[in-house]
Chain length 188, copies 2
């Protein structure tokens, strides 16, 4: 079998529209089985994001709550954001955690997965970090359009919120699984 092979790009992407660093593009790929070129419409953004699963010294999860325009509603999420130029992923994770929540970690551990938000139709992906020993030590730094609340939620209650459907952000749930497995490995 081995049907699941990589496909080669057939030509450059055609930009249908572009705004705020986000593009809708048509990209052709050649199906290696049929030899035919197929056009896919893709949401493209040159963004690498970092998301942080932070635990306080009391084992509370450090989360944020804010209005999100894609969903059109208030969403509970793990903090994170885009990497700046000339910044390492781990530096971005430390900076975003503190800017968004006011919390600083005593230890930050990278997790192995490069996570696609939607490998079917979107190019952005994220990296995730486990942040331990988080403690509040500065005021969060939000820009004028951010209306973020910081929440600290006991880990067992956080898991119940996920199981009960109160958390609807996919990255937040995926990274919770990666982080809690990493935590239990450390404790063995």
């Amino acid at each position: 079998m081995n049907k699941a092979r990589n496909w080669a790009k057939a030509g450059s992407p055609i930009v249908l529209a572009e705004n705020h660093g986000k593009r809708l593009v048509d990209q052709s790929y050649t199906n290696p089985l049929s030899g035919k070129d197929i056009i896919y419409t893709i949401f493209d953004a040159s963004i690498i994001s970092v998301i942080i699963f932070g635990l306080t010294t009391e084992e509370d999860v450090v989360a944020i709550k804010q209005f999100r325009p894609g969903a059109g509603e208030v969403i509970i999420e793990l903090p994170g954001g885009n990497r700046n130029k000339n910044e390492s992923l781990i530096e971005a994770a430390r900076r975003e955690l503190t800017e968004e929540t006011g919390y600083t970690a005593s230890e930050i551990i990278p997790m192995p997965n490069k996570l696609w938000i939607d490998p079917v139709a979107c190019t952005p992906y994220i990296y995730s970090f486990l942040a331990l020993g988080c403690h509040e030590n500065v005021d969060p730094r939000h820009d004028e359009n951010e209306t973020i609340e910081t929440l600290t939620i006991p880990l067992s209650y956080w898991m119940d919120m996920i199981y009960d459907g109160e958390i609807s952000d996919m990255k937040t749930i995926a990274i919770t699984l990666l982080a809690t497995s990493r935590l239990s490995q450390r404790r063995r």
Copy 2:
């Protein structure tokens, strides 16, 4: 405090481009704290998807492997797809599982979370299902552009693939957490 309130839409979305049911739009929202209107560029698609975490009678996870144009590489995922018109979510889950993998479930359980792929900049969301007693009984039905391999992977090995970073699809990891928690609830 209560900073995290819903924002109201300020006018209709401006369509920057549209193709294959996918749109790049500018949508203005009014920040309730400042009263200012802010324009967000959003990837919009009127798609409701269902994703299925299927376990065989031998407790193998039923997964698929295929080239995905957003990621530009071969990705291991849980099976799923878009709901058709006039189809319930659970009907869509049954149909997609069988069409993509050739497996049929003896029981399908809806999970509570409505999952946003990216609440910041994307409108699509998915619903997930736990499918038990899956058994292979038909040939998968793929369209000519689909080059899908079906995989069955023992659950403990599947979890290791997630922890080791071999699974990079966010929905697959998030839904694995929801499904395994539901499984352990049933066994209590």
